[in-house]
């Protein structure tokens, strides 16, 4: 019993409901506050269309007062008209904050600061979602959705052509693809058989990496770990970055001048490998430096603090934590070396030559072979051309896949 509600004669409370159409219906009357709350709690829930809101009214007048505007209005909210809620996973949850809850809270005087209801004052209890988005929130949601779809569309624009190209190539190449196509030689390049250029590409990649990987990795270590930050180091860094961006045909011309002519190697496997090594070197240096820089400086300082020399720190801390990143960078250059045609065009690749290869002799490479059978030789069937392309792309993808796998492994082992 709510004592502080004045007990005028005759004490009369009304419970009214507002429907969605705006009509107000009197649901019942009560002689005490407690009775009124019982009446409220006893309202059927989920029975047909629930009212938009309920009103608790104290009036000394007639039921006509219900239709008049109140002198003062208080609000209490309840969430949903349902008894038990249904969670997303289908399980029944505890009853929602419903009418009986509202009534119980009113009875427990949650409206502590509320003075006793005077004549023609209402407490309106209405549905309210716990969070109703305002204009700002709606704008945020729209922008969020737009951003997500734009990024998704760009990703699709990237992925769809790749998949389409691959699918087209494989379909076109299908008739030619066979074990003997890859692992046998042909006499005239007409009927496929790409074993010789495939082996040539392997030689090219390995010899160039044997030259460029040690130089690139060690130079990267020096530049990142030893070199002081002065104008000379900055000049070298600038040169490395610029060299990485130089077109491969420029490297090819340099290779012709430096290796084929000046060093007297002639057009040979060695000259081509050196040229490709020069081409991949700056990128290996850059990726090595990036991998090393990913090891926080604080770790190095902690080691130096303990009297470790720079080399001890590099050997025991920096390299073990960056070796995967360094290898990833090197492996990515394998696929680049395998795919490039320009640097070997003038420096050692031949249209047709015979096994075995020698370091000082021209050789066949897959990329050059593809260029040759597509533009230089007449009467090579389509499927052989596409088949060569598929093998080349497959090689590049396999190497890149190896590098991605290494990167995933690296992330899973991350130690800080």
């Amino acid at each position: 019993m709510r004592d502080d509600v004045p007990n005028n004669t005759p004490p009369k409370y009304l419970l009214a409901a507002e429907t969605a159409e705006g009509a107000v219906i009197t649901l019942g009357s009560a002689d005490s506050w407690e009775e009124l709350l019982d009446l409220l709690a006893g309202q059927p829930e989920n029975d047909g269309v629930p009212p938009m809101a309920y009103r608790l009214i104290r009036t000394a007048e007639t039921e006509a007062a219900v239709k008049k505007k109140p002198r003062r209005e208080y609000f209490a909210n309840f969430r949903g008209a349902g008894g038990a809620g249904r969670e997303d996973d289908g399980t029944e949850s505890a009853p929602w904050w419903g009418l009986d809850h509202a009534a119980a809270n009113l009875a427990a005087r949650r409206f502590d600061d509320l003075p006793p209801l005077a004549v023609r004052e209402w407490i309106r209890i209405r549905h309210k979602e716990p969070f109703t988005p305002g204009a700002l929130e709606r704008r945020k949601r729209i922008k969020e959705a737009v951003a997500e779809y734009v990024f998704l569309a760009m990703t699709a624009a990237l992925v769809i052509p790749i998949v389409a190209i691959l699918a087209y190539l494989v379909v076109k190449a299908w008739p030619a693809l066979s074990f003997s196509f890859i692992f046998q030689n042909s006499e005239d390049s007409q009927a496929g058989g790409i074993w010789a250029p495939l082996v040539g590409t392997f030689f090219l990649v390995w010899i160039s990496l044997i030259i460029s990987a040690p130089i690139g990795v060690l130079a990267g270590v020096y530049l990142n770990e030893y070199a002081r930050d002065n104008w000379f180091t900055r000049l070298i860094n600038l040169a490395v970055v610029n060299l990485a961006g130089v077109p491969s045909i420029v490297h090819a011309l340099f290779g012709v001048g430096a290796f084929v002519l000046a060093a007297g190697m002639g057009q040979s496997l060695l000259a081509a490998s050196c040229t490709v090594a020069i081409m991949t070197l700056p990128v290996i240096i850059a990726s090595t430096r990036e991998a090393l820089a990913a090891v926080p400086m604080a770790f190095r300082e902690a080691c130096w603090n303990l009297g470790a020399t720079r080399w001890q720190t590099i050997r025991t801390l920096v390299l073990p934590n960056s070796i995967s990143g360094i290898l990833t960078g090197v492996i990515l250059q394998v696929s680049r070396a395998a795919g490039e045609t320009a640097p070997i065009l003038f420096t050692g690749a031949a249209l047709f030559t015979s096994f075995p290869y020698h370091l000082d002799q021209p050789f066949m490479a897959l990329s050059m072979h593809l260029y040759a059978i597509c533009t230089q030789l007449q009467g090579v069937s389509d499927s052989v051309q596409y088949g060569t392309a598929v093998v080349l792309i497959g090689l590049v993808l396999a190497v890149n896949g190896l590098s991605i796998g290494l990167r995933v492994y690296l992330r899973s082992r991350k130690k800080w």
């Binding site: 604080a298 770790f299 300082e301 130096w304 603090n305 303990l306 009297g307 470790a308 801390l317 130690k415």
Partner: protein, 273 residues
């Protein structure tokens, strides 16, 4: 500015096998030390001597050059490329820039910084790292050393079952104690502690303080702290720095009860600036 300090009850008769300069009365000495970071002066003409086998506290407000002073002792200051050091820093009478081998110096001077850095390797390897680099590879000796260092740093009980856990996976306070254990692993002559207790709970801090008092007989401990009461509890001598200058230095009890400078008194009483 008033130096030398009268060394009470200090055993100066038993010289340790010293560094390049041989045995002298003070373990660390700064002569007119000035350090600049670019145009900003961090330490300005500091003259200070730190006696052997004592706990020497350095207190002072932020930006007063406490940490810079500490970094000079084992040349950690070299890691900051903009720092310019002038004046002399003498450890065992030898100039750290002219006479000491920097790696040997850093093995003799253990350092604990306020931001704990667990190395990305196991707890065991974290502590065994420095001894190994210094040439100790005997597994049994390493085991004993790792245990004693971890015990002294009050970390043994928490990690003894999981010494293979990554040092970077420990909590902040545990990593701080790990760095303390690492600093102790080379049995340094000088132990520099910069705010070693900020991430450690008060009970453990008290126990570490007890151990520091014990270690005093074997090494000189230089303690930079913002907890004035910690300096008072622990230190034999205290130096008060302000704005890169040494304001006052003396036996801790005297500095705290009868400070000569008004600035010192205000800082100790907590109504500084």
């Amino acid at each position: 500015m008033v130096n030398p300090i009268p060394p009470p009850e200090l055993d100066l008769q038993t010289p340790r096998d010293g560094g390049p300069g041989g045995s002298v009365s003070s373990h660390v000495a700064f002569r007119n030390l000035t350090v600049r970071y670019g145009t900003k002066t961090a330490l300005d003409g500091v003259n200070l001597e730190i006696p052997r086998q004592s706990i020497f506290a350095v207190i002072g407000p932020a930006n007063s050059g406490k940490t810079t002073l500490l970094k000079c002792i084992n040349r950690t200051i070299d890691f900051i490329s903009s720092a310019r050091v002038s004046g002399e820093i003498l450890v065992d009478g030898g100039d750290v820039y002219r006479q000491w081998n920097v790696y040997e110096l850093r093995r003799r001077v253990g350092m604990v910084f306020p931001l704990p850095v667990g190395l990305p390797m196991s707890v065991y390897n974290n502590v065994a790292y420095a001894p190994r680099r210094a040439g100790l590879h005997n597994r049994r000796e390493l085991d004993a050393l790792v245990e004693s260092c971890l015990r002294r740093a009050m970390l043994w009980d928490e990690v003894q079952d999981r010494l293979d856990l990554l040092g970077t996976r420990l909590s902040g306070g545990q990593q701080q104690r790990l760095t303390l254990a690492r600093a102790l692993s080379l049995r340094p002559d000088i132990l520099c502690l910069d705010e070693f207790s900020i991430a450690i709970d008060p009970v453990t801090t008290m126990r570490i303080e007890d151990i520091l008092r014990e270690l005093k007989s074997r090494m000189t401990i230089v303690l930079v702290t913002n907890l004035v009461q910690q300096a008072r509890r622990l230190a034999d001598y205290t130096a008060f720095f302000s704005a890169g200058r040494l304001v006052e230095v003396g036996p801790t009890e005297k500095l705290f009860t009868r400070p000569e400078q008004q600035l010192t008194e205000r800082y100790i009483n907590g109504d500084y600036g």
